[in-house]
């Protein structure tokens, strides 16, 4: 069973997924951060594959992408860093990033590498659902790799049902019309959108992402979805100092307690 399905089967509420950018703040931070996040109580981790032109991301994740590339991160290196990670880490691991580096790596090659290091799902916001179904689904399926799709407040009901039908694992519910990392609280309009989706009885569970920055928004998201995804706020907290593990512990405790 895919670890994502297992997680949603075992844990019914307040699932916490955390995003960070591979290679940031340091080139060899990747596995240190993954282990620290699992130990601190994260339920799932989205490992960012840095890209030169992250068009759906705000300043914090843009900066981490830029720095990670300067540090020398690449997909090839990331897979080699992740080899052996499954000896220690049990929670679901996803790769998140933009389509072009994955295409250049080769889709089949990419899926095979994901499978061999133990990646459970992939989030590629600029891969349209239709292209995924027509061109990539069979190769993802061969490796039991889930492609997580996004919905946004502008998505029509019809569109959301279409996306639900081709989704596996969960649906990434973008909380607002924005790039990553901009808001601090939810508006009435956003809550109305959460409720609208909640009442649609989708086959897949939803996690709310974009703009989840603290305990309040995390808890609120938990009321309308199975949990939340934190990205920019976490990346920002990583800072520059060498107490990464302690900082991560504190950050997760602040969110979850």
């Amino acid at each position: 069973m895919n670890r994502i399905d297992k997680l949603f089967k075992e844990k019914k509420t307040n699932i916490l997924s955390v995003y960070f950018t591979a290679g940031y703040p340091n080139l060899d931070s990747t596995t240190v951060i993954i282990k620290a996040l699992e130990n601190a109580g994260a339920d799932m981790i989205e490992i960012g594959m840095p890209f030169s032109d992250p068009m759906a991301d705000g300043p914090v994740i843009q900066h981490s992408n830029e720095q990670a590339l300067k540090n020398g991160m690449s997909l090839k290196l990331l897979f080699s860093q992740l080899s052996g990670i499954r000896k220690e880490v049990k929670i679901p691991l996803l790769l998140m990033g933009y389509l072009n580096p994955v295409i250049q790596f080769g889709i089949a090659n990419f899926c095979a590498e994901c499978s061999s290091v133990g990646i459970d799902g992939v989030i590629l916001p600029d891969l349209p659902p239709q292209n995924f179904v027509e061109e990539y689904f069979s190769i993802f399926d061969k490796y039991d790799l889930y492609n997580i799709l996004l919905i946004s407040p502008q998505s029509s009901a019809e569109r959301i049902y279409t996306i639900d039908k081709i989704s596996r694992g969960f649906i990434y519910m973008v909380s607002s019309s924005s790039v990553t990392g901009t808001k601090n609280d939810f508006s009435e309009e956003q809550v109305a959108y959460f409720k609208r989706v909640q009442n649609m009885n989708l086959d897949n569970p939803c996690l709310i992402g974009f703009g989840i920055s603290n305990r309040e928004t995390y808890n609120k998201a938990g009321k309308y979805a199975r949990g939340a995804i934190i990205g920019s706020a976490f990346v920002k907290s990583l800072g520059k100092d060498d107490k990464v593990i302690e900082n991560i512990g504190r950050f997760i405790r602040n969110i979850k307690s």
């Binding site: 890209f51 030169s52 032109d53 992250p54 068009m55 759906a56 705000g58 300043p59 843009q62 830029e66 590339l69 690449s74 997909l75 090839k76 933009y98 389509l99 072009n100 580096p101 994955v102 295409i103 250049q104 790596f105 916001p125 600029d126 891969l127 349209p128 292209n131 799709l149 996004l150 919905i151 946004s152 502008q154 998505s155 029509s156 569109r159 996306i163 973008v174 019309s177 924005s178 790039v179 901009t182």
Partner: protein
């Protein structure tokens, strides 16, 4: 037409709409409506009236006799430089602002490199009373201050982009981020035949007026019905596709697109996408793209800010692949020399972009009776700083032409 975009938004393997879900409703709305609007008689009348009375179309097709003597062939210049705001860019912005109005939008965003598209967008926003926000890389703002001031005078807000290399590519990223954040009231006027479907097709259709006019102009100013060659510069490729559009199915007309080689295609400082690129995704489109082995996008270089783009419109990638259009490239130096040559022989100062098309004339052997159309996509006012510097020690642009002084 067999070069049309297919129903999925592709030209062969190129094109598509590789966009995040947050952009989907806006792009879908545009896709569902653009052909209906473009073929609506009221739109056609309003667009044509503005092109005629506001932009100043048709732009002349001018027989350049002294330049023709120099190159020993018949050269006709398509004078897009004479349009209002000084370039072909206004053809697209006039059309798109009329579309934005029909889609019920009240706020316009745009990206700009050299500032020509930004000025053309700010201009039509002033004309229509729409709010206008232009994203421009900090580096370009510093290089192109007259255009920044022009946009501000026209009432646009110019937002400096400090991400990445702070140039056109980054300004485009930032405009896309704005659109994601303001989906309801905003229309994004992309400046070239790039971006997700339907933009490449939309912009190509709006720019196709360039070749539509040539269809009757060529026979008026030459003894042929069709030109033998049409030559245009290509960055994203909007003036090139506009110049080729109505001749794509006429296989007897040779179509030449000239990329910016910068300091040479092997120098590491180039914008010759079709020489150095391979298929990839940029700004929502699958197209030829300059990128590293790992798929990170490479910052291009050209002396001309308008050709300084790491991708190219997907229709050009396709026309290149099927060999309907011949793609070549010229260097900074070749373009500068060609600009000075046109200035001295015809009294026309071209934009640096257009100078690339002119420079190609020196790289090809023509017959005496060939009719060669060259699109002068814009005027050189914005490039005076570069030209002034070049004039400090110019080569002789008329070398080998003893007749020039007494002509």
């Amino acid at each position: 037409m067999k070069y049309d975009v297919d129903e999925r938004g592709y030209y062969g393997e190129f094109g598509g709409a590789y966009i995040p879900e947050m952009m989907y409703p806006n792009v879908k709305q545009l896709e569902d409506n653009y052909l209906k609007i473009l073929t609506d008689q009221k739109f056609i009348d309003e667009f044509n009236s503005l092109l005629k009375n506001y932009v100043g179309r048709p732009s002349p097709l001018y027989f350049a006799s002294r330049l023709s003597l120099f190159y020993k062939t018949k050269i006709l210049l398509k004078r897009e430089d004479l349009n209002h705001t000084g370039a072909h860019k206004i053809n697209n912005t006039v059309g798109q602002i009329l579309i934005a109005k029909r889609l019920g939008k009240s706020r316009i965003i745009a990206e700009t490199g050299a500032g020509q598209h930004g000025v053309a967008t700010a201009t039509v926003c002033a004309l229509m009373g729409m709010k206008c926000v232009v994203y421009m890389g900090q580096t370009d703002i510093e290089r192109q201050s007259p255009n920044v001031l022009r946009m501000k005078m026209l009432g646009a807000e110019v937002i400096p982009v400090i991400s990445g290399n702070k140039t056109l590519k980054d300004a485009t990223n930032e405009a896309i981020r704005d659109w994601i954040s303001n989906p309801a009231d905003t229309h994004y006027i992309i400046g070239s035949v790039v971006g997700p479907h339907p933009y490449p097709d939309l912009v190509a259709r709006l720019q196709s007026v360039i070749s539509e006019e040539m269809l009757y102009q060529v026979k008026e100013v030459s003894d042929k019905i069709n030109p033998d060659y049409i030559v245009a510069c290509v960055g994203g490729g909007s003036n090139a596709i506009g110049s080729f559009y109505h001749y794509l199915n006429n296989e007897q007309v040779k179509l030449i697109a000239v990329e910016a080689a910068g300091k040479g295609t092997e120098s590491g400082e180039t914008a010759a996408t079709l020489v150095k690129g391979r298929p990839g995704v940029i700004h929502g489109s699958m197209t030829m793209l300059m990128q590293t082995e790992d798929g990170q996008i490479i910052e291009p270089y050209s002396i001309s800010a308008g050709l300084d783009y790491p991708g190219i419109g997907p229709i050009h990638s396709y026309l290149h692949k099927i060999k309907r259009v011949i793609f070549d490239n010229v260097t900074d130096d070749e373009a500068l020399e060609a600009a000075l040559r046109l200035t001295r022989l015809e009294g026309i100062v071209p934009a640096l972009e257009s100078a690339h098309a002119l420079a190609w004339l020196g790289k090809h052997k023509f017959n005496n009776d060939d009719v060669v159309v060259v699109t002068i996509s814009g005027r050189g006012d914005k490039d005076m700083d570069t030209y002034i510097k070049y004039m400090e020690s110019p080569p002789n642009p008329l070398k080998g032409a003893k007749w020039t002084t007494h002509m």
